[in-house]
Each structure stands twice: as structure tokens, then as C-alpha cells.
Amino acid sequence: MKRCIFLLLLLVVACKSDPKTDSAALMEPEVIQEAPELEIYDFDGLKKFLETTSDKTVIVNFWATWCAPCVKELPYFEQLNTNYKDRKVEVILVSLDFPNKYDSNLKPFIVKHQLKSKVVALNDTDANRWIPEISEDWSGAIPATLIYNKDKRQFYEKTFTYDELETEVKQFLK
């Protein structure tokens, strides 16, 4: 157990520091990084992430830490976010974790996996209202992804590989 806590501390510290100072950080395991601040929205609050008037392309992925297929495809969204940063592509990961799991599951997950994309939590129980507003084609299953720019938008109730995701995003960059 002690060993576990120590490893966890190491991990937390390692996530925070940049590669050059890793060894220094490893020697100071007592430095504990606080869990990341989590932005939590209801659907009305989330709307600002669902449309744009600028020339960027936004990929909104709906996921949760307990959703195995979501967690499996998450690295592809991260990878795309990194690779397409200079092409004005932005990835937003909208977590549907239950509020009572934010501290125990979601925040540790963000730290552990060093998520670089913006993560926000959607806490709005009236899903029958907001699911069709996000897309008429969404049955409610996750993972689900919305890609949009100021001219068009496309919704996907499916899992992605990196190549599939890149192919879709390229359609928006033409």
C-alpha cells in the first residue's frame, strides 16, 4: 500500500514536471501536485464549445473514464490534438463521468494520462433535452464525437482509429 502511494506520488510529480527536471522531481517525492481544476458545465454552459465563428476546426469527444471503448480511442484524439495544433484544430474532451466520481476517478485519470487536450465535465441530467440538440442522430451511446467548423458539422456515434479520425478532420481542413 505504502509502495502504491509512493508510486502514485511519483507519477503525479512526474506528470507536472517537464522532462529535463524529471530526475530532480524524482528525488523530491514529497512535492504533491494538486489535482487539476475541472471545468463543470450544464448543457447551456457547454454550448459555447459547440459552435464557432472563428476559422478553427473543433473536435468534441463525449467520453467517460468507465467507458472502455472511449478510453481506448482517447490517445488518438490526444495525438491528433498535438499533430494538428498549428492547423487550428482544437480537441475538447467532454467527460460524462458522474459528479461523485470527479475527484476519485476523473481528475486522477487526467493526471495519470497527462491529457493535453482541454477536458470539461458535462453535468446535466436532462439528457433527453440535450442529446438531440447536439445531434438528431445520437442515440445516446458513448463514445460519440462531433466535428465542426463555422461552415459545417458532422456527428459520429462510433469509435475511431487515428487514421479514421484524421481522415474525417481533413475533410474540414480543405
Binding site: A64, W66, C67, A68, P69, L96, F98, P99, T125, D126, A127, N128, I131, P132, W138, S139, G140, A141, I142, P143, E157
Partner: protein, 201 residues
């Protein structure tokens, strides 16, 4: 030449319509298929076994999805309230148990026992039934009404409008639908949506 064209057209139509039917699943008003699936007690269950039922609350659900777990007690309460009135709950576990071992028959039996389920909890062996209904996630509800045509789909969707807290529910979609059917009234919300876990194939 003409006949070949007609033949090709007919075949393509059949292929296309067969494809769309199977992928889209049921709409309200469609007649739902019966099934013969294994229950947690080892017996096979079909809708036709229920001679006295007026209809069914068919719920695709599982052990491993947090949304399904959040609704377990409410599903049990639905069966307690409506089975005796002719609308029993029939729960079907649609996941591939190789992908989700936590949903295998032993796990289903254990979960049903610990939660005291009084409704049948059936395994969609071979995953043949859920695609016909068009279920995409757990939990996913289909309310059927027994008619001379067969079991007609009357409602598709969520159990209620608050997955987090049963005490904070504003609209009980399933209860309202069954109450309307029993009273011979029009169902107000015939289709609703909720977040759920993708059915694992």
C-alpha cells in the same frame, strides 16, 4: 434486357431494404419479434410464455455499465409495480461476454441474487435480438403492447429524466407510458433519449 434490369433493381431494393431494416431497428408502431433466451435460472424465456400479460417492459441492460447500475433499483421497482398489472419487466443482457466478462451468465446470476431481481434477466446469446430491436446502449427500454397483430412497440428510450438521482426525477417516462397504455390513453413522450454505454460487440 428489361427483365435483367428489373431483376437487378429488385435485388438491390431487397438488399438495401434488408440492410436499412436491420440497422435501424424498431420504430414506435412496429411489431417486435419474440425471442427464446436463457434466463439466469437456466430456463428459456419467450414473450409468448406470458399468456396473461397485456404487454412488456423490455429493458436491454447489463452489470457493467454505470448507467445501468444506477437504474437497477428503479428497474426492480418497475417490475414490482407493473408485473401484477400485466406489464412485467423483461431484462436482456446484450453485451458480448468475451469483451465484458463481468456480464457473463455467472456474473448476471450473482448480480440478480445480490440485488434481489424479481424479473427475468436473459442472455442475448449470439447477440441476435438487440440488433432487431435497434438497441444501441444500456439501459435501453422498449415498451410493448400485446395486440392481435403481435407485440407492438409503444415506447422507446429512457426510464426517466435523471440517471444520477431517483429522488430528483421530474418525468418518469416509462411509468407514464405504461399508465397511459393501461388507461387507453395516448402516450405523451413516445421516444426519449438518454446517455448509456455502447453495447459491446
Amino acid at each position: 434486357m428489361y427483365t435483367i434490369k428489373t431483376f437487378i433493381a429488385a435485388v438491390s431494393f431487397l438488399v438495401i431494404s434488408a440492410f436499412t431494416t436491420s440497422s435501424a431497428g424498431y420504430k414506435v408502431g412496429d411489431v417486435a419479434t419474440d425471442f427464446n433466451l436463457k434466463n439466469i435460472d437456466g430456463k428459456m424465456v419467450s414473450l409468448s410464455n406470458y399468456k396473461d400479460a397485456k404487454g412488456f417492459i423490455v429493458i436491454f441492460t447489463c452489470n457493467t455499465c454505470p448507467y445501468a447500475v444506477a437504474y437497477e433499483d428503479r428497474i426492480e421497482a418497475l417490475n414490482k409495480k407493473y408485473a401484477s398489472k400485466g406489464y412485467p419487466v423483461i431484462a436482456i443482457m446484450p453485451n458480448n461476454t468475451t469483451v465484458k466478462p463481468g456480464d457473463n451468465m455467472e456474473a448476471m446470476q450473482a448480480r440478480a441474487k445480490s440485488k434481489g431481481f424479481t424479473f427475468p434477466y436473459l442472455m442475448d446469446e449470439g447477440q441476435k435480438i438487440y440488433p432487431q430491436y435497434g438497441a444501441t446502449k444500456t439501459p435501453h427500454v422498449y415498451i410493448l403492447q400485446k395486440t392481435s397483430k403481435g407485440n407492438v412497440v409503444k415506447y422507446i428510450g429512457a426510464i426517466d429524466d435523471n440517471y444520477q438521482d431517483a429522488a430528483a426525477v421530474n418525468v418518469k417516462y416509462v411509468e407514464n407510458a405504461v399508465d397511459a397504455l393501461m388507461a387507453g390513453k395516448e402516450i405523451k413522450d413516445k421516444e426519449t433519449r438518454a446517455i448509456g454505454c455502447t453495447i459491446k460487440v
